[in-house]
Each structure stands twice: as C-alpha cells, then as structure tokens.
Amino acid sequence: MINSKDNIEQKKPETGCVAKDEIESYKRLASIGKVSVDIINELYSPIDTINRFINLALHTVGEDSQSRQFLLESKEGIRKTSVLLKRLDSYAKEIEKEISEIIAKNGQSPSSHSN
C-alpha cells in the first residue's frame, strides 16, 4: 500500500495539472479507494459480532479451562485484525481524498468511476 501512495506522490506534478490518461488512472484509483473503504466498513460488523460472541462464550467457561485460553487468544487475534483494518481504513481514506483533490483540480468529476 505504501508503495502505491509513493507512486501517486511521484506522478503528481507541482502545478496540480495532469494529462487526460493520467486523470483516468486517478479516477480508477479513487474508485478502488472507495470500494476498499466500503469493504473495510463491511468487515467491522462481523468483527464486532464475533468479539461479542467471544465475550459471551467467556462467561460460560471455567476460569482455568483451556477453552478460556483459546477464546482469549481468539479475542486477541480479533483485536489485532481490528487495529490493522483501522490503519488500512485511514490510509485508504487519505488516498481517496488526495486523488479526489487532484481530479477536482483538473475540472473532472471524481465520481464517474465510483460504484
């Protein structure tokens, strides 16, 4: 992901004006960014639910049981996934915003490729 952002930075000319074919590429990238944000948001719901079910399951197992350990490890896994998604989310939003700005500067509508 970081490499693709660097590519955008390199391609962006100082004046903010870019060639037509590049604009089309940016539009496609903006569209991918938007889809990524939507998918990430869709993932939050099952993560939220799984976490809640793990909490419920933790109430039903003994304090020293092996199942408890497995559940706590699952919970930690879910937490890490959630942190990664949040990072990806903010990165995708940043890219989407940046590309939309470039497209807008060139007098184009950023939504033409969006779903």
Binding site: Y44, S45, D48, T49, N51, R52, L56, I78, D89
Partner: protein, 465 residues
C-alpha cells in the same frame, strides 16, 4: 426494581443475537425489531427506555423515521451503532438525532456505558423541583451535603439526575473531600432506595481474604474460623446502595467477582455453590489514578468501564473555600450539640486563619479542628486561640528572608514537605498511643492513607519492632 428496557433495531441476524444475549446477560429486558417500521410498532405498544440501532444493514429502512422519538417526546433515547466513524459519512436517510453514536467494533462495556448514561439522562425529565430551589434557605443542605459553591451545585445537579437510575457511580477525590457523604447523598436522593440499607466497606483497610468473605458472605466451614453461615455486604445491602471505598485496592481476582455482580447481579457465598441474586446500586470511590492502574494492568479495563458509567470528581476544600464558612457553621452546630455546649459562632480573626490555611486533609481535617475548638472553647465563640498552633502558624506571613534561612539543602518541594509530615504523623501516633484508627481520625485521613504513609516513612512503634 424493574429492568430497564432496550429495543435492538437491526436487520443483521448475528448482530441481533449477539446484542440480545449480551444485554439480557447484563440485566436488561431486551427485544428485537428487524426494521425501523417494526421498531415504531414496538414503541407504540410498550415503553422502551433505550433504542439500540445497528444501522449498517441494507434492509433496516429509513432511519430518519426514528427521529419521531424526539419529535413526539417519547421517554426513550436512541443509541446508534455504525461501522462508519462519523455521522457526516452516513447517507441522509441514516442520519438521526441520537443520544450517542458508537463506531464498530465496539466493546460491550462501551455499549452498556452509553445505555446507562442514556438512562441517567432521561431521569432529568422527572418533573422534580430543582435542587437550586431547595438551596434558597440559608441553612438548608443538599441531602446532608454542605456548600453552595458553583462546583458543588454542579455536583448536586448531577446527583439529582443520576439518583433515580441504577447506574454505577465512580467517586474521585482527595482523601477527606467527602466521597462518603456524596455516596450517602446519592442514596438519599434515590426515592426507591433511600429507605433501604446503605452499606459501606473500606476495601483498603481489609486483607484480601476478609474482603471476599465480607462482600459475599461465607458458609460454615468454608475456611478456618468460619464457624457459622454469614451474610455478606452484598446480601445485606439488597435493594439499597453499597459503597466500596478505595476500589483501587481490589485484587485482580476480586475484580472478576465484582464485575460479575455488576453485570449479572449474582454471586456465590465463599464455600457455597448456590448462586444468589441481588439488586444493589454500587458506588465506588478512589483517590488514585484508575486510568494509570488500567494501563499498568493492575485494574481490569472491563471493570473500569463498568464502574465509570458516571464519574464525579469531588473538589478539594482549597478549591471551594467559599463553602468554608458554611462548613464551619455546620460543624459548630453539630459538635455544640454533641458536647452540650452553646457556641454562637466563630470570630472573624479565627475564620481568617481557617480561610488562609491550605487544608491538605480537606473537610475531614476541618471537622476535627472544629470539634477540638468546640471542646476547648470557654466563652461561646470560637477564637484564634482555640485553633491548633500549626494552623495559626501557617496563617502567619513568612518573609522571603525567613524562608531562605529555613530552607538550605532541600532539593525539591516534595522533599521539603516530607519531614514535617513525618514528624507530625509520629507526634499524633504517640499522642494516640499508636492507635491507628484514632490517629487517622485526628490526622483527618482514612486508615488506608495512614497505613500507606507509615509504610512510606517506615514508621513502626516500639512494640512492633
């Protein structure tokens, strides 16, 4: 007490089931509406205190219809769960006037906390007379609390709002600020509980094994010395209020048990398998930084969220000195009666001394000083001479030259304050024959604070050596 009712609105089956189970387990009456349309039908049929709307599903319907809750003044609040981080990113038909937006993934404790705050907030509209109207008369107190400063009036207003709810309350404040009095005021302000027991337990002063038995009770033979069945404080405070003082001193395993009582309202006596149900409003207090304890893993995060539904920070006396004359009047009245004396009041110069003092021991220290002055007084008015020498000296202006002469090799303010504190504690301990309860009272601190200070200064009596 009736259970608070929460209506879950979501078209996602997994979300429905997980939220329903979690809320029922946390002591709420819950039901599910699969669309906004169905939720509105539920609202027509029955009172729902909180509507918990998970708005991510595509088939939930036009959420703006839920604005009817505000428009028609339903006695309900809406709490929204969404994958989107902010309201602005929501489509227009999903933007509603909500008590709180929570973005997913969200911890159960945060949902409970939002629900409890919503419940507490609704109790605002109960049509009760304003607390300010009860303070118009000069001698009136607010459920035993003395003071009319803005900061205290804010606290009274908050108590008025939270008293009818069953929300857990976290009281923070320095030692001697009156956390116990605030807890009692919350109990007295709660119409449903005020006639029921108010039980308090000082967690810091008791060893772990005793606290467990004190809180949950025990059965005969549960441990050496358990010669009879004994009810715990939770059982004794059923239908009433329980104050857990110095909650920070709770061990981690006891924190798990407390969390269970708060969430599921059930527990077992020590040595017994029978589960007991209890309805208690729990108030906890601390003079420590609980957030720090959480970050250091000394205090459970889930318990912290559960306790921190409503937090009240009680100001130190030095920050509400305008209340000092009222407090002085109050204590003069109290101790005159107790000591069968007729004290008219306090002289201006004596009051000046009290106003100039910094009150590290807060109201408890003031209480002890007025009690002493009332006992010593001979002419019916408290004078400067009736106050302890330490107070009179602290009110004396020290010139910078004097100060320079006294302070030579002290590295910091903290170090400068250590020696006088140690010497004074030692003096009081010797006066009280090392009776820690009496010494703590005289010093205007609680016993836990005194024990901590004894440890800090390595103070032990001859008999303990």
């Amino acid at each position: 007490m009736d259970k608070a009712r929460v209506l879950i609105v979501t078209d996602d089956k997994l979300s429905q089931k997980s939220l329903y189970e979690m809320l029922c387990r946390s002591g709420y009456e819950a039901d599910i509406a699969v669309s906004v349309k169905e939720a509105l039908r539920h609202l027509e049929e029955k009172l729902w205190h909180v509507i918990l709307a998970d708005i991510d599903g595509p088939d939930i319907g036009d959420l703006s219809s839920l604005n009817i809750v505000k428009e028609k003044s339903y006695p309900s609040e809406v709490v929204v769960l969404s994958s989107k981080e902010d309201i602005d990113s929501l489509p227009l038909n999903k933007r509603i006037s909500a008590f709180e937006y929570l973005s997913k993934p969200v911890e159960d404790e945060k949902i409970i906390s939002a629900i409890e705050r919503a419940l507490a907030d609704k109790s605002l509209n109960t049509g009760k007379p304003s607390f300010i109207s009860r303070l118009i008369h000069k001698d009136e107190t607010y459920h035993g609390l003395v003071g009319k400063s803005a900061i205290m009036r804010d606290i009274y207003a908050l108590i008025d709002r939270i008293a009818p709810s069953r929300a857990t309350v976290l009281l923070r404040g320095e030692s001697g600020t009156g956390k116990r009095m605030i807890a009692r005021a919350i109990h007295k302000a709660d119409k449903k509980r005020k006639e029921k027991p108010f039980i308090e337990i000082s967690c810091g002063a008791l060893p772990r094994e005793i606290i467990e038995s004190e809180l949950f009770g025990h059965t005969k033979g549960a441990f050496t010395g358990a010669i009879n069945d004994r009810k715990g404080r939770f059982e004794l405070s059923h239908s009433g209020t329980m104050l857990l003082d110095d909650i920070d001193s709770f061990s981690l395993d006891l924190q798990v048990k407390l969390l269970r009582v708060l969430q599921e309202k059930e527990f077992e006596r020590v040595g017994d398998h029978k589960t007991m149900k209890v309805d208690v409003r729990v108030i906890v207090s601390t003079n420590q930084d609980l957030e720090k304890a959480v970050s250091e893993k000394k205090f459970r995060e889930d318990l912290y969220y559960r306790l921190n539904v409503i937090s009240i920070t009680i100001p130190p006396l030095r920050k509400r000195k305008e209340d000092l004359p009222f407090l002085v009047d109050h204590f003069i009245g109290l101790f005159s009666k107790e000591n069968h004396k007729k004290i008219k009041g306090i002289s201006e110069d004596a009051l000046d001394v009290l106003m100039a003092y910094n009150w590290p021991g807060n109201i408890r220290e003031l209480e002890n000083i007025i009690e002493r002055a009332v006992i010593l007084d001979v002419d019916g008015t408290l004078h400067k001479d009736d106050l302890p020498e330490m107070l009179r000296e602290s009110a004396t202006v020290i010139t910078s030259d004097d100060a320079r002469g006294k302070i030579k090799d002290i590295a910091s303010l903290k170090d400068a304050l250590k020696d006088p504190e140690k010497v004074y504690i030692l003096k009081v301990l010797e006066e009280t024959g090392w009776n820690k309860k009496r010494a703590a009272k005289k010093l205007g601190v609680n016993r836990t604070t005194l024990y901590n200070k004894l440890k800090k200064y390595n103070l032990i009596s001859d008999s303990e050596k």
